[in-house]
Symmetry: C3
Subunit: 215 residues, 3 copies
């Protein structure tokens, strides 16, 4: 490998590990708040950080990749330990965690889509796998804590992931798998997620439900 | 292929897509009622329509098949869009949807069992996989909406799927994988499901619980 | 095979089937108490007895092994039938079931770790897979019954599984996959689990939550 390519690879690895760590913080913090024990806190960090990529690989039909790489396990488990001992400090840097989480979402949705195309799946599958890689962990976190997944109800969270994956899918359909479109997809996801947080934007619910109380 | 065989194949594909669409409606409608946003509605349609087949293929140990076929993804996603915009119309054709759903159940339980045998699994595995293919999606729908899966508690839903798969399993054990036994299995499932709906039949709970209030 | 090796193999098979049966009782009993119907009771027995091993094999990337062996399906399903008809008798032998369940946990955590090493995974993965094999089924049971998994909150249940798997992982890292370390790991798990039950020991929750009421 050339020095430049190795540098790029290290950058992508560092970003992926940062995203994994941020997702792990999201799981661990939710677990601490739900008063899970130390095993439960570390387990939830693993769940949020790794589930999306695991479901992606199962749907593609290959052995889960991140699970085989101890650096991802260390990033996820380390996030759990940080949450267990440091909730008070973390409550103070909530905004920072949201930025890292948005970064993780942005990276995971484009890597999910790219992996779909590397496995010869079509554009629809690429978008679905990109979204699942980004949101799967958070969904399982909510199910384990007995909540309807926020990502299905609240916030602009899944739609940025879909948009980011769609950029990669459109470029792929047009014949290019260039890393520049991955960067563009990640940027679209990250910016739309941060704009959604900043202005409190929500995805719409069905027209029939807007004027009536919940069933 | 002969013209007759191609005709049969098209019929089975059409029935499978109709079943997928009906399962998608079931997921989308539940999501609209739970006031999920548009992403959540389409996601639940995917979940109900595709999860059973995905679990089946994971248990067999092959890459999930329907996920690779865009026509199934289109049928599932299309059902979600219909639910998002058309709940009012759908409430009017509730009986029609139940018929399609029973058709989906009937088809999925026999195709699940057949795929088990095509993968050299035994009759018990065939029945289990037939049932999972039919009910897996509805179970995950209920888990995501924070309910105990209806299929484990109410209605005659899983047992028709078990019966349909059992017909295929018995025929297989007796040496025949003829499509006629698949048709017979699907019919047994469909009819017992519709009779269960019509007469409000429920599967029994344990003798010890019948005379006492819930814990 | 020599007569001694065959005898060992039979012993391990018998212990595994006893553990599967005990896990099946745990699922079936919870289902009877939640007033699930007969299908739901048998389904929960399957879920608790088989899910851990299935998730392990999916994470390793091989077709789920126990699912292919009818004896495990029979042990799991048989436990469900026993629960459906015999709750009253079982309430009387609760302590006995806990012992079998601890035995199942002890066996599953060491076989999970061993299988990870046989698949060339590292020590961290071995510990994680050992724990998942032991606790995965109970977690899904609780999710299906709409509860936050006890294993994440209560009791000393996951930590004995982690300890048992860690013994196997340390021996493996030191160059030995001898069955004696598996026996030692299983003993560590079993004893710490029974001590936890006897003295009501719980794993700690986060320091920040100890003095405040739940959110």
């Amino acid at each position: 490998l050339s020095s430049a390519a190795r540098h790029d690879g290290l950058l992508i690895l560092a970003l992926n590990l940062a995203g994994t760590f941020a997702f792990g913080l999201s799981g661990g913090l939710a677990a601490v708040r739900a008063r899970l024990d130390i095993f439960g806190v570390v387990a939830l960090s693993f769940v949020v950080a790794l589930t999306g990529g695991i479901i992606r690989d199962v749907l593609i039909g290959v052995p889960p990749e991140t699970f085989r790489d101890w650096r991802y396990l260390a990033a996820a488990g380390g996030a759990g330990v940080v949450c267990f001992f440091g909730r008070t400090a973390m409550d103070r840097v909530h905004g920072g965690i949201q930025v890292f989480d948005a970064l993780g979402l942005a990276l995971f949705c484009v890597t999910g889509a790219s992996k779909a195309f590397a496995s010869d799946l079509g554009p629809v599958q690429g978008v679905v796998l990109g979204a699942i890689t980004g949101i799967g962990g958070g969904m399982l976190r909510d199910v384990l804590l007995r909540e309807i997944p926020t990502v299905l109800r609240h916030d602009l969270y899944a739609i940025p992931a879909v948009l980011g994956a769609a950029v990669v899918a459109i470029a792929h359909s047009a014949g290019s798998d260039s890393v520049y479109f991955s960067l563009m997809g990640a940027t679209v996801c990250f910016v739309s997620r941060m704009v959604g947080i900043r202005y409190g934007i929500h995805a719409p619910i069905a027209p029939s439900e807007r004027d009536r109380p919940p069933d």
